[in-house]
Symmetry: C2
Subunit: 398 residues, 2 copies
């Protein structure tokens, strides 16, 4: 083995491996009970339907499906996405405002590339999504965490921070069933947030992978639907409502902004998979995505109920955790002297995995927190894993 | 319509729309005879085979195929790529040195992200691939074009330039059937290039989308196979030998370098399509990709022969153009006073498209050149289009 003589670009030193992806590698061992990923339940994937769809796409448009397409994406899919957004999230977008991306992770990376000069400030919830931190990090921003409670970003704190912070370039938020906490912003916080953001003209990245995964309660207005100044850039994905394996997501924004995303997409990978785009469009024509989402939600609701009731029974009584109305995650806070990374080490010995919470805070700290996913494990393993974890937590608390 | 109050990042102003992609939009009109794209011939796509493959993947591993996978990619596909590279390009890589990307365009973008600080120098052929210029451009480098002739980069010029240039960070080259010129580097130039690059320890991006599309003559050693210092980063793709619609390519590099690409891939889009990766792997198991490539090559060879003989007959006698031994393109040089963009305007009026050559020179100039693709049009339209173009060129030369 020779020594490599290559010097990498400065930005590379600020990118760290995603702790989730590293833990996911461990969880590939079949014995592991994993609460680590944000993985959808594979037994719910429409495998039989996709056999029909794949055949139809290749039969009716095989040559076009295997060829290059435009950077913007397959127009019928963009139209279906625009219609669906308008129906589910109260927006008024057309397909011209939709760019197909390779998952919403790509929308995050492009947002950093388009908006962030080195030293610019990203406002975010505290905690926030690890994958967004990593995507933005390579553009060298500063993160300013806005205090956040069970009803979302605390708007008085937001305004206070905006007043005293220079070079704010974007606010990155996940108002629906947030990753990692499972929290959902209240209606009044959404209104107030948009009022403040509009007043200061700050671009907003509204990351919405989980919005359709509501098990109970009323759907709330998306930020994009409250946007009167064209400031909100909405990121969506089929990874949670359909399947992640196709890597199809989208960016919806005003055309003046979207054209920058299209330019960046050209340089980044030309376009997303033609055949995947056509297959999802044909699935949406032939089958009922709404009924598929209802089926997912009924399963996830049962798992959430089971997870919460098991945690209430098996976890030490003094621990607090969120009780989400939808999405994939609950968030646990330990007493401040307990480090969740140490709990993880013990937990992996007992073949149970989760993600320590510290990574979700871009400026560090909060090592006494962790994230639990309840969507991926069947019910017996869910209960068994939480029982083991409860007993380990009991040992740490004594 | 409201005015957008967003200020974009500095890098965005240096990215321009790909002229090819813009021209491709025009060429979607069915009447246009297009020599513009680098599009493979869709009538050669293995549509029937992919019906069998798609069914098999969903039947045998549907749930895994629709789920997330690792960032590195699907191991059996990485193994098949390593084997194929070793067989076709004389390398000695294992799957641990292969990362699956979304086309080789993504490998270009990542190379810029990993290697280039603002103001760093990229050495490239003159002309070079437009998509690479665009991908690198957003990282703010300077391009230094190394004079290039029919046998490749002129190594005396390369050495002279290296001696007097500071901050050289990479050399970007396409030694096989180059885009845009169709030229292939000679064996002695390859050896000499690697000797110089090794002496100065300059990382090399070897972009090789067309290497397997050889119609005649001997295959030559890839730069990666001559690499004794781990400096060569090889970019490959299934877009030209198989189909572009899946967007599956790869980066092959020493593990110490590849781990940076994996980190960047995590932030950029987590992973490439799971199902596309599995489908290509199963296609390679069930069918014979070599025989598919032979079939492609026999069709493209016939089209190249027809294109060249038609150009010899129909183009003004004083024009020079390349006679490639493989790949998709020939390159035309006009007298220096003729601007190919003006020729294109006339040509589009007669429903014939091509790409003016100026865009392939990162530092501008050379507007008297253009690129012709001969792989995408069936033979009757190929002849008709070149006849019209010849008559337009005749008008310009008089």
């Amino acid at each position: 083995m020779f020594a490599i003589a290559i010097t990498f670009a400065g930005r590379i030193s600020s990118i760290k491996a995603s702790e989730i992806r590293e833990i996911l590698k461990i969880t590939e061992q079949p014995n592991i009970i994993s609460f680590a990923g944000g993985l959808p339940a594979p037994e719910l994937f429409p495998v039989e339907e996709m056999k029909v769809v794949a055949r139809k796409v290749l039969e009716e448009a095989g040559r076009q499906a295997l060829q290059y397409t435009t950077t913007e994406g397959f127009t019928p899919l963009r139209q279906k996405i625009a219609q669906r957004m308008n129906a589910k999230f109260g927006t008024a977008v057309t397909h011209q405002k939709v760019l197909i991306t390779s998952g919403s992770q790509q929308g995050l990376d492009f947002s950093g590339k388009i908006l962030l000069n080195e030293g610019d400030v990203v406002l975010c919830e505290s905690p926030t999504y690890l994958g967004a931190i990593n995507a933005f990090m390579s553009y060298g921003p500063r993160f300013v965490e806005v205090p956040t409670d069970d009803r979302g970003m605390i708007t008085e704190e937001l305004e206070r921070i905006i007043e005293k912070t220079e070079r704010i370039k974007m606010a990155y938020v996940i108002p629906d069933f947030q990753n990692p906490t499972g929290r959902t912003w209240s209606a009044d916080r959404r209104e107030k947030f948009m009022e403040i953001i509009g007043r200061y003209e700050i671009p907003v990245i509204e990351d919405n992978p989980y919005g359709e995964l509501r098990f109970e309660g009323q759907s709330l207005k998306s930020l994009k639907s409250l946007d009167t100044k064209g400031l909100v850039i909405f990121l969506g994905t089929f990874s949670k409502t359909f399947c992640p394996g196709y890597r199809i997501g989208w960016v919806a924004a005003e055309e003046e902004i979207l054209e920058k995303y299209i330019l960046v997409k050209q340089g980044a990978d030309l376009q997303s998979s033609t055949i995947a785009q056509r297959e999802i469009a044909v699935y949406m024509e032939m089958f009922d995505l709404d009924s598929h989402v209802r089926e997912i939600n009924s399963v996830y609701k049962a798992r959430r109920d089971l997870a919460i009731s098991t945690m209430e029974r098996e976890f030490p009584g003094s621990l607090s955790f969120t009780r989400p109305e939808g999405g994939l995650f609950t968030w646990v806070e330990l007493p401040s002297h307990i480090n969740a990374r140490e709990v993880l080490v013990k937990s992996l010995e007992r073949e149970v995995a989760f993600v320590p919470g510290g990574s979700f805070y871009p400026n560090g700290g909060h090592e006494n927190t962790f994230r639990l996913n309840y969507s991926n494990m069947p019910e017996d393993r869910l209960v068994e894993g939480l029982r083991r974890l409860g007993s380990i937590l009991g040992e740490f608390m004594n």
